[in-house]
Symmetry: C2
Subunit: 86 residues, 2 copies
């Protein structure tokens, strides 16, 4: 659900990752265009602590399983800020 | 050193991430266009175990500090497979 994903991303993710996932701060990875399955896995791993990251833990724990599906779909749908080679 | 980064990426990273970092397998994140600083940090964290990942550990430990700088610069320089919105 992209609309729900965008709304949740606005609440939880956008302050660091930007609403379209094209962070310009090298502290934060670019999420735009990343595989949805990879983003979902990362969020579950942050949430259950198997990926040990103190910054991401509280944000991941603020997300339900459905939220994780939705925000992952949202960022995967966003074009990266980069253009393809001609 | 992009040329050295490309050569090392071919040896160590490309089998999963593709030489330009545009993996089409959702098990592996897209590295193309990711921030070099973020990639460098991730590789150091995998190498020292603070990011606990059994798949990445041996690859990260196969890289020197200079290799990490170089492959991070290489993948950061590669355009994402995605095009920007018009």
């Amino acid at each position: 659900d992209l609309a729900a994903g965008r709304a949740k991303a606005e609440q939880v993710c956008a302050a660091c990752h930007k609403i379209d996932g094209n962070s310009d701060n090298p502290q934060y990875p670019v999420l735009a265009g990343q595989h949805a399955d990879y983003l979902r896995r990362a969020l579950h791993d942050y949430r259950n602590g198997s990926r040990n990251n103190g910054v991401m833990l509280p944000y991941a724990q603020a997300l339900s399983r459905t939220d994780i599906d939705n925000v992952s779909a949202w960022f995967a749908s966003q074009p990266s800020r980069l253009v393809s080679r001609p």
